[in-house]
Protein backbone atom coordinates (compact mmCIF):
# COMPACT_ATOMS: atom_id res chain seq x y z
CA UNK A 1 0.00 0.00 0.00
CA UNK A 2 1.44 3.33 -1.02
CA UNK A 3 1.49 6.28 1.34
CA UNK A 4 -1.17 8.05 -0.71
CA UNK A 5 -3.70 5.26 -0.18
CA UNK A 6 -3.52 5.37 3.59
CA UNK A 7 -6.14 7.49 5.36
CA UNK A 8 -4.58 10.35 7.27
CA UNK A 9 -4.87 9.81 10.99
CA UNK A 10 -3.67 12.59 13.21
CA UNK A 11 -3.53 11.88 16.91
CA UNK A 12 -5.36 14.81 18.44
CA UNK A 13 -6.77 15.13 21.93
CA UNK A 14 -10.56 15.26 21.88
CA UNK A 15 -12.34 16.84 24.81
CA UNK A 16 -16.05 16.74 24.11
CA UNK A 17 -16.87 16.65 27.80
CA UNK A 18 -18.70 19.94 28.31
CA UNK A 19 -17.34 20.26 31.85
CA UNK A 20 -13.74 19.80 30.71
CA UNK A 21 -13.90 21.99 27.61
CA UNK A 22 -12.05 25.25 28.13
CA UNK A 23 -12.92 27.61 25.33
CA UNK A 24 -10.44 30.31 24.36
CA UNK A 25 -11.82 33.88 24.34
CA UNK A 26 -12.64 33.94 20.60
CA UNK A 27 -14.46 30.63 21.19
CA UNK A 28 -16.55 32.19 23.96
CA UNK A 29 -17.48 35.10 21.69
CA UNK A 30 -18.33 32.60 18.96
CA UNK A 31 -20.65 30.39 21.03
CA UNK A 32 -22.33 33.48 22.53
CA UNK A 33 -22.84 34.74 18.96
CA UNK A 34 -24.62 31.49 18.16
CA UNK A 35 -26.68 31.40 21.37
CA UNK A 36 -27.72 35.06 21.04
CA UNK A 37 -28.66 34.44 17.41
CA UNK A 38 -30.82 31.45 18.35
CA UNK A 39 -32.55 33.45 21.12
CA UNK A 40 -33.21 36.35 18.74
CA UNK A 41 -34.70 33.95 16.18
CA UNK A 42 -36.84 32.00 18.67
CA UNK A 43 -38.17 34.88 20.78
CA UNK A 44 -36.77 38.16 19.44
CA UNK A 45 -38.45 38.21 16.01
CA UNK A 46 -41.99 37.32 17.21
CA UNK A 47 -41.70 39.80 20.11
CA UNK A 48 -40.42 42.51 17.77
CA UNK A 49 -43.38 41.98 15.42
CA UNK A 50 -45.85 41.93 18.34
CA UNK A 51 -44.41 45.20 19.63
CA UNK A 52 -44.46 46.78 16.15
CA UNK A 53 -48.09 45.73 15.63
CA UNK A 54 -49.13 47.07 19.04
CA UNK A 55 -47.19 50.33 18.62
CA UNK A 56 -48.76 51.04 15.21
CA UNK A 57 -52.24 49.96 16.32
CA UNK A 58 -54.58 52.22 18.26
CA UNK A 59 -53.50 54.80 20.82
CA UNK A 60 -54.81 52.34 23.41
CA UNK A 61 -52.56 49.47 22.24
CA UNK A 62 -49.60 51.89 22.15
CA UNK A 63 -50.25 52.90 25.76
CA UNK A 64 -50.76 49.24 26.72
CA UNK A 65 -47.37 48.34 25.21
CA UNK A 66 -45.72 51.19 27.09
CA UNK A 67 -47.19 50.18 30.43
CA UNK A 68 -46.39 46.50 29.76
CA UNK A 69 -42.68 47.15 29.38
CA UNK A 70 -42.51 49.46 32.37
CA UNK A 71 -42.98 46.37 34.56
CA UNK A 72 -39.62 45.53 36.25
CA UNK A 73 -39.71 41.92 35.04
CA UNK A 74 -40.42 43.05 31.47
CA UNK A 75 -37.52 45.48 31.71
CA UNK A 76 -35.25 42.62 32.75
CA UNK A 77 -36.39 40.56 29.74
CA UNK A 78 -35.89 43.59 27.47
CA UNK A 79 -32.40 44.01 28.88
CA UNK A 80 -31.68 40.36 28.04
CA UNK A 81 -32.79 40.94 24.44
CA UNK A 82 -30.77 44.15 24.32
CA UNK A 83 -27.66 42.19 25.31
CA UNK A 84 -28.41 39.43 22.76
CA UNK A 85 -28.83 42.00 19.98
CA UNK A 86 -25.77 44.03 21.00
CA UNK A 87 -23.50 41.02 21.42
CA UNK A 88 -24.66 39.59 18.09
CA UNK A 89 -24.10 43.03 16.52
CA UNK A 90 -20.60 43.58 17.94
CA UNK A 91 -19.42 40.01 17.33
CA UNK A 92 -20.83 40.27 13.80
CA UNK A 93 -18.80 43.42 13.12
CA UNK A 94 -15.74 41.56 14.42
CA UNK A 95 -16.40 38.75 11.92
CA UNK A 96 -16.79 41.27 9.09
CA UNK A 97 -13.41 42.76 10.03
CA UNK A 98 -11.85 39.28 10.21
CA UNK A 99 -13.23 38.65 6.70
CA UNK A 100 -11.40 41.78 5.60
CA UNK A 101 -8.24 40.29 7.16
CA UNK A 102 -8.23 42.82 9.98
CA UNK A 103 -6.76 41.50 13.21
CA UNK A 104 -6.42 37.86 12.22
CA UNK A 105 -3.27 37.06 14.20
CA UNK A 106 -3.84 35.48 17.59
CA UNK A 107 -3.08 38.40 19.96
CA UNK A 108 -5.24 40.77 17.89
CA UNK A 109 -8.06 38.20 17.67
CA UNK A 110 -7.96 37.73 21.45
CA UNK A 111 -7.95 41.47 22.00
CA UNK A 112 -10.94 42.03 19.68
CA UNK A 113 -12.81 39.21 21.51
CA UNK A 114 -12.38 41.07 24.79
CA UNK A 115 -13.47 44.30 23.11
CA UNK A 116 -16.65 42.62 21.80
CA UNK A 117 -17.52 41.21 25.24
CA UNK A 118 -16.82 44.48 27.05
CA UNK A 119 -18.44 46.85 24.53
CA UNK A 120 -21.63 44.80 24.24
CA UNK A 121 -21.94 44.61 28.04
CA UNK A 122 -21.24 48.34 28.40
CA UNK A 123 -23.88 49.20 25.78
CA UNK A 124 -26.33 46.84 27.53
CA UNK A 125 -25.64 48.71 30.75
CA UNK A 126 -26.40 51.96 28.93
CA UNK A 127 -29.73 50.52 27.75
CA UNK A 128 -30.41 49.45 31.34
CA UNK A 129 -29.76 52.96 32.61
CA UNK A 130 -32.12 54.32 29.93
CA UNK A 131 -34.79 51.74 30.88
CA UNK A 132 -34.72 52.47 34.63
Amino acid sequence: MSALDRPVVKPRPVYLDLVRIRLPLPGIVSILHRISGAVLFLFGIPLLLCALAASLGSAASFAELKSAWSHPLAKLVLLGFAWAYLHHFCAGIRYLLLDLHQGIDLPAARRSSVIVLVVSLALTLLVGVRLW
Binding site: D5, G37, P46, S55, L56, G57
Partner: protein
Protein backbone atom coordinates in the same frame (compact mmCIF):
# COMPACT_ATOMS: atom_id res chain seq x y z
CA UNK B 1 -11.39 3.22 3.19
CA UNK B 2 -11.38 6.61 1.57
CA UNK B 3 -8.68 6.78 -1.05
CA UNK B 4 -9.97 9.54 -3.25
CA UNK B 5 -11.75 12.77 -2.62
CA UNK B 6 -14.48 13.94 -4.90
CA UNK B 7 -15.40 17.57 -5.25
CA UNK B 8 -19.15 17.55 -4.78
CA UNK B 9 -21.81 19.82 -3.31
CA UNK B 10 -24.52 22.19 -4.34
CA UNK B 11 -22.10 25.13 -4.12
CA UNK B 12 -24.62 27.29 -2.27
CA UNK B 13 -22.13 27.82 0.57
CA UNK B 14 -20.38 30.84 -0.93
CA UNK B 15 -23.64 32.55 -1.88
CA UNK B 16 -25.06 32.06 1.62
CA UNK B 17 -21.82 33.25 3.20
CA UNK B 18 -22.08 36.45 1.16
CA UNK B 19 -25.81 36.91 1.79
CA UNK B 20 -25.21 36.53 5.54
CA UNK B 21 -22.75 39.42 5.42
CA UNK B 22 -24.73 41.71 3.12
CA UNK B 23 -27.89 41.28 5.22
CA UNK B 24 -25.82 41.96 8.36
CA UNK B 25 -24.59 45.27 6.94
CA UNK B 26 -28.14 46.24 5.90
CA UNK B 27 -29.42 45.53 9.43
CA UNK B 28 -26.53 47.40 11.04
CA UNK B 29 -27.24 50.50 8.92
CA UNK B 30 -30.97 50.37 9.73
CA UNK B 31 -30.17 49.94 13.44
CA UNK B 32 -28.01 53.07 13.37
CA UNK B 33 -30.76 54.96 11.49
CA UNK B 34 -33.41 54.04 14.09
CA UNK B 35 -31.01 54.84 16.92
CA UNK B 36 -30.34 58.28 15.39
CA UNK B 37 -34.10 58.93 15.02
CA UNK B 38 -34.72 57.92 18.64
CA UNK B 39 -31.88 60.14 19.85
CA UNK B 40 -33.19 63.14 17.88
CA UNK B 41 -36.78 62.71 19.09
CA UNK B 42 -36.04 61.65 22.67
CA UNK B 43 -39.18 59.94 23.98
CA UNK B 44 -41.63 59.01 21.24
CA UNK B 45 -45.38 59.50 21.59
CA UNK B 46 -47.93 57.62 19.51
CA UNK B 47 -48.45 60.48 17.04
CA UNK B 48 -44.75 60.91 16.22
CA UNK B 49 -44.37 57.15 15.89
CA UNK B 50 -47.30 56.96 13.44
CA UNK B 51 -46.04 59.90 11.35
CA UNK B 52 -42.63 58.23 11.16
CA UNK B 53 -44.18 55.09 9.69
CA UNK B 54 -46.48 57.16 7.48
CA UNK B 55 -43.29 58.13 5.61
CA UNK B 56 -43.07 55.56 2.80
CA UNK B 57 -39.26 55.76 2.60
CA UNK B 58 -38.98 54.76 6.28
CA UNK B 59 -41.64 52.08 5.81
CA UNK B 60 -39.70 50.63 2.89
CA UNK B 61 -36.43 50.80 4.86
CA UNK B 62 -38.16 48.89 7.68
CA UNK B 63 -39.43 46.33 5.17
CA UNK B 64 -35.93 45.85 3.69
CA UNK B 65 -34.58 45.46 7.25
CA UNK B 66 -37.17 42.77 8.01
CA UNK B 67 -36.42 40.87 4.78
CA UNK B 68 -32.69 41.03 5.62
CA UNK B 69 -33.42 39.87 9.19
CA UNK B 70 -35.56 36.92 8.09
CA UNK B 71 -33.07 35.79 5.40
CA UNK B 72 -30.18 36.20 7.89
CA UNK B 73 -32.12 34.17 10.46
CA UNK B 74 -32.75 31.40 7.93
CA UNK B 75 -29.05 30.96 7.11
CA UNK B 76 -28.01 31.11 10.78
CA UNK B 77 -30.66 28.69 12.00
CA UNK B 78 -29.97 26.29 9.13
CA UNK B 79 -26.28 26.30 10.07
CA UNK B 80 -27.23 25.42 13.65
CA UNK B 81 -29.43 22.54 12.43
CA UNK B 82 -26.62 21.27 10.20
CA UNK B 83 -24.23 21.25 13.16
CA UNK B 84 -26.40 19.63 15.82
CA UNK B 85 -29.33 17.79 14.18
CA UNK B 86 -27.96 14.64 12.56
CA UNK B 87 -31.07 12.56 11.65
CA UNK B 88 -32.01 13.69 8.13
CA UNK B 89 -35.77 13.44 8.69
CA UNK B 90 -35.73 15.56 11.84
CA UNK B 91 -33.47 18.13 10.25
CA UNK B 92 -35.66 18.35 7.14
CA UNK B 93 -38.80 18.77 9.27
CA UNK B 94 -37.16 21.52 11.32
CA UNK B 95 -35.90 23.29 8.21
CA UNK B 96 -39.33 23.14 6.57
CA UNK B 97 -41.00 24.44 9.76
CA UNK B 98 -38.45 27.26 9.97
CA UNK B 99 -38.98 28.32 6.36
CA UNK B 100 -42.76 28.35 6.83
CA UNK B 101 -42.42 30.33 10.07
CA UNK B 102 -40.14 32.92 8.46
CA UNK B 103 -42.45 33.30 5.44
CA UNK B 104 -45.36 33.77 7.85
CA UNK B 105 -43.34 36.45 9.68
CA UNK B 106 -42.81 38.19 6.34
CA UNK B 107 -46.55 38.17 5.69
CA UNK B 108 -47.17 39.53 9.19
CA UNK B 109 -44.59 42.29 8.56
CA UNK B 110 -46.36 43.38 5.36
CA UNK B 111 -49.69 43.28 7.18
CA UNK B 112 -48.35 45.53 9.96
CA UNK B 113 -46.50 47.99 7.73
CA UNK B 114 -49.22 48.48 5.12
CA UNK B 115 -52.25 47.72 7.27
CA UNK B 116 -52.14 50.35 9.99
CA UNK B 117 -54.20 53.54 9.94
CA UNK B 118 -52.05 56.63 10.30
Amino acid sequence: MVTRRQAVGAHYGLKDWLVQRVTAVVMALYTLLVLAILLVHGGLDHGTWLSLFANSAFRLATFVFMVALLYHAWIGVRDIYMDYIKPVGVRLALQAATVLLLVAYLGWTIQILWGFRA
